[in-house]
Symmetry: C2
Subunit: 155 residues, 2 copies
């Protein structure tokens, strides 16, 4: 598993990638978060992904607490895969990826728009300072060691 | 190349992943964006990544316009890798990954804090409606086809 090579990385971005960083994984999450997809056959149809790869990714999500496996049909037994809170919280990663792709890799314009359900307005991810309330630019971000900086790196 | 399997995906998140979705790639970008790293040896030291993999990733970034290769020493000839605007704009993806990892995969607390250079305040990514100005919750996001929805999927 690629993830093993991350052992020395005490970094939350690295840990997040370790859990959900394989590319198909994030597209499965995209379908779950924005398409409400829960069933194996629906993921398979949407992604055109090999069944064995899809099954492995969904199992991994269940193991990592990102999805829950629920029985939705008893005869025959069929399960669906429902995002947990931890899984739903991946939405902002998908939105950040989409914003970048819209800007730099969508010559025909955004394939999908994300809108505010209340008013239909376009949504924008902003970086806001929780102290002074300013909306900051990328140049105004500095990093420094946090409370977990001296913890052993995640295995 | 994994990316070939994305051909049917007309989706900006998929295209962004295609360009920068391999996990080491995003950690290289992290070091470049937040550490100001530009030199091969410095990336190598920070990441502990195999030289051939690092070289391939940096070459790919140059090909994709995410980094520029610049000569910084003539004898011997040494190059550094400097983020372009397209590359610097990946910051928000790293921040979104970090936020998720801090919340769900950092039991000892965040290894790194991102702060506002002006006041030292903690920064938070918010989803703001560009029409009504509301800060929205994840449940308030809906997706619909955009102008690029009927374009052929990116090859």
């Amino acid at each position: 598993m690629l993830g093993r090579t991350y052992e020395g990385q005490n970094c939350s971005a690295a840990r997040a990638l370790e859990l959900i960083g394989e590319r198909w994984s994030l597209l499965i999450v995209r379908d779950a978060v924005f398409g409400g997809t829960t069933r194996f056959a629906d993921f398979q149809r949407s992604l055109g992904i090999a069944r064995n790869i899809l099954a492995a990714r969904l199992d991994r999500f269940v193991d990592e607490g990102i999805m829950e496996r629920r029985l939705y049909s008893e005869r025959p037994a069929h399960h669906e895969y429902v995002l947990t809170e931890r899984g739903r919280d991946l939405q902002s990663i998908i939105l950040a990826l989409t914003r970048w792709g819209d800007r730099w890799a969508a010559p025909a314009g955004p394939p999908v728009l994300f809108e505010h359900v209340d008013c239909g307005g376009r949504l924008e991810q902003q970086l806001v300072c929780t102290v002074c309330g300013d909306t900051t630019t990328p140049e105004q971000v500095v990093s420094r060691p946090g409370p977990g900086a001296t913890a052993p790196a995640a295995a």
